[in-house]
Symmetry: C2
């Protein structure tokens, strides 16, 4: 797995540690470490300092569960973001993806996972009770469930929709259909069926 007995101990440990990161392996880890060593004066020390700072300070936003370096994340701190709409996502990565699209100007709520009987993840393991509290506290009028179009995602969506029914808040979900740039020939049957059922008048 390692570079062999050729380099120093820390260099080998660095490579084997990086090789275990998601999407990397021994080969790409070796390539990255060699690249960094060649530029060590600059980029590697900077990376080490950044990682150390983030490891020290990164935490969940007290309100929405986004990852942040302060008590509240920049979105929850932003007075320009509408408080009446909450977009519920599974993971922080989903929140970031929505932010890159710049289409949503409300606030978020990160569940931290989906319901799963197999993995014994129940409603109390996700941030669903906190969501119910926020709906009362923040005068929320709409909750958008931006969950994955998978069995687990949709099970979780239905559970939340039911849990929120007593609050009277409007609960919506993302539209399903043909992705932008998608060619029908390459789409799975489920997507085509969903797009056909949700067809709209032009």
């Amino acid at each position: 797995m390692g570079p062999g007995p050729a380099a120093g101990d820390d260099i080998e440990t660095l490579i084997t540690t990086m090789a275990r990161l998601p999407g990397l392996g021994p080969r790409s880890a070796r390539r990255i470490v060699l690249h960094l060593i060649r530029k060590r004066a600059g980029q590697m020390a900077q990376l080490a300092a950044l990682m150390s700072s983030v490891a020290e300070t990164a935490r969940e936003c007290r309100t929405c569960g986004n990852i942040t370096q302060s008590d509240l994340c920049p979105i929850c701190q932003d007075p320009g973001r509408a408080t009446g709409e909450i977009c519920v996502v599974t993971e922080v990565a989903d929140l970031w993806a929505l932010e890159r699209g710049r289409a949503f100007r409300g606030r978020y709520h990160v569940l931290g996972g989906t319901l799963s009987a197999l993995d014994e993840i129940g409603p109390e393991d996700l941030r669903i009770p906190e969501l119910v509290v926020r709906i009362a506290d923040e005068n929320v009028t709409e909750v958008i469930l931006a969950l994955a179009a998978t069995v687990e995602g949709q099970t979780t969506a239905h559970y939340i929709a039911e849990a929120l029914e007593p609050t009277g808040v409007a609960v919506t979900g993302l539209a399903q259909g043909v992705p932008v740039g998608g060619e029908l020939d390459y789409l799975d049957d489920g997507t085509i069926t969903a797009a056909l059922r949700a067809r709209r008048r032009l």
Copy 2:
């Protein structure tokens, strides 16, 4: 490129810095940083410390050019490695690849590149003068040129073979042929021709 304005400053800088590493991009960098933040107590702080240590101490081995954390690399320090054979490689990554194969028990010499008229890399930019010095100093009897089977690699090999001719040392190169597990149908014509020309009696 970044995660959007959603995370803290250091988190965003960490992601954009990692996204510039070879083989990574914005998406894989985000995935790695999120993974690290979730395990931050352990792995991220450890990675930061390792990087900081390596950034501080990594240097070229005084003798062979391998990357190491001391003055001499572990191979040059190892009294069990034969001093009579030097294997010349282009980059440290090649040295590590040969070490993983465990077939060579001599010492190495890292050139740090190949001759290239286009990039204005001449013999004096590589560690060729140091190689000539080592051949006299270390009683070397064979120099194995383990360079790439590319035009640049072979040009460099020929240059070194000529430069070493006055020393009387035996200069050899890696065999060319069918790679282990290689199917003829998938090989390029050059490799098939080389393998045919270098055919041997069974």
